[in-house]
Symmetry: C2
Subunit: 190 residues, 2 copies
DNA sequence: CCATAAACGCTAGCGCTGCTAGAGTTCGGG
DNA sequence: CCCGAACTCTAGCAGCGCTAGCGTTTATGG
């Protein structure tokens, strides 16, 4: 019992090590630099060990994405609870969302742009993701009027996501960024 | 002179053939199925021929993206000019944009999601892209009020882009799609 | 305390990728 | 008719995700 639990604990630690190494490598050099060989070298195990923990590279990316969701939820919550009123809450949450995407581009991509084997728009979605979405919803609530809060929050999220990804992909000029965000918020909050 | 021009014409035809083959392959099976080997086989030339026309696979994708921009501009223009008033124009353009992304997912990705060596937010951007953006701008113009039309159109575009990509990536449930779009339009048009 | 079996991590390799060096062929110009 | 330039091909490089199968370590039952 004790020996088995020790082994399980060590396994869990190694799994966490893999996830952390993948995240660090991705954030430092982008996902294209995260190869199973480099990752294995970084955790000082051979390649096949990765596959005893994860079904494939996609699954590792998914695990990193879940971590990212938790971090995002923390940032959003901090921004929302620090705001003195509804208007500054939704503005602060928006800014925090943008800042997160800007500071952690690789993390953001694997969470919301890349295709990863994670359930998203279902009750089985990662709790951390649901928490992040919940923070957006609370910021949107004061402006929902008679509309569905869920659908309206989805719409709000999508706009932020579009602004972030088009800019980061070079499709939108960076200099108008704050203007675009304020134009959107002005229209969204009526 | 005549011989040389004939050769140049044949070269141009072959280049067009490569672009078309890449587009068809991508639209049929996705970009991950577009390998230089399959593409070469499809145009019935060897791999190195591709590199005498394009610097790399990225450049081929960029060429396909430019074609896609032209097609999108046509669709948007048709939707806008067919609308009897401003409100139905912006709604129709939005719906046409969504429909384009839905019908041509691989094309849409290479135009607006993937990283390709194309100038976007500059005067050197492909005229076809500028034309498509111009159609969005004309649809937005009646609702710009005192705001910058350029920045507002960028914001409008970003929202559509976010709705499309989050849904296609499985992050948003498909069933609320039309509701989300109408919620956005209602707030955007005031 | 030892033999056995299971759990474990390793080396080596498969089929693929984008890309390129260099050989071989074709063809227009003098 | 021959030469040189233009052109396309075969073959191969380094790297990718992933896995079969071997060898070692480790925990257990007699």
């Amino acid at each position: 019992m004790s020996i088995q639990s020790r082994r399980e604990r060590e396994r869990a630690e190694r799994e966490k090590l893999i996830i952390t190494a993948a995240r660090e490598l991705a954030e430092a050099e982008g996902w294209e630099a995260v190869t199973t060989r480099r990752l294995a070298e970084r955790v000082e195990y051979s390649q096949p060990v990765l596959y005893s923990h994860f079904k494939g590279k996609d699954a590792i990316m998914a695990a990193v994405a879940v971590e990212g969701c938790a971090d995002l939820a923390v940032d959003l919550r901090a921004a929302r609870t620090a705001a003195p009123d509804a208007r500054r809450a939704i503005a602060g949450v928006s800014a925090a969302y943008m800042a997160f995407a800007d500071r952690h581009p690789a993390l953001y991509d694997v969470m919301f742009s890349q295709i990863v084997p994670l359930p998203f728009a279902t009750p089985e979605a990662p709790p951390a993701l649901q928490a992040a979405f919940g923070e957006l919803a609370e910021a949107v609530r004061p402006y929902s009027g008679g509309d569905s809060l869920g659908a309206l929050t989805e719409t709000f999220w999508a706009a932020l996501h579009g602004l972030v990804t088009l800019m980061r992909g070079g499709r939108l000029p960076r200099e108008h960024h704050e203007l675009r965000l304020s134009l959107f918020l002005a229209r969204f909050t009526g």
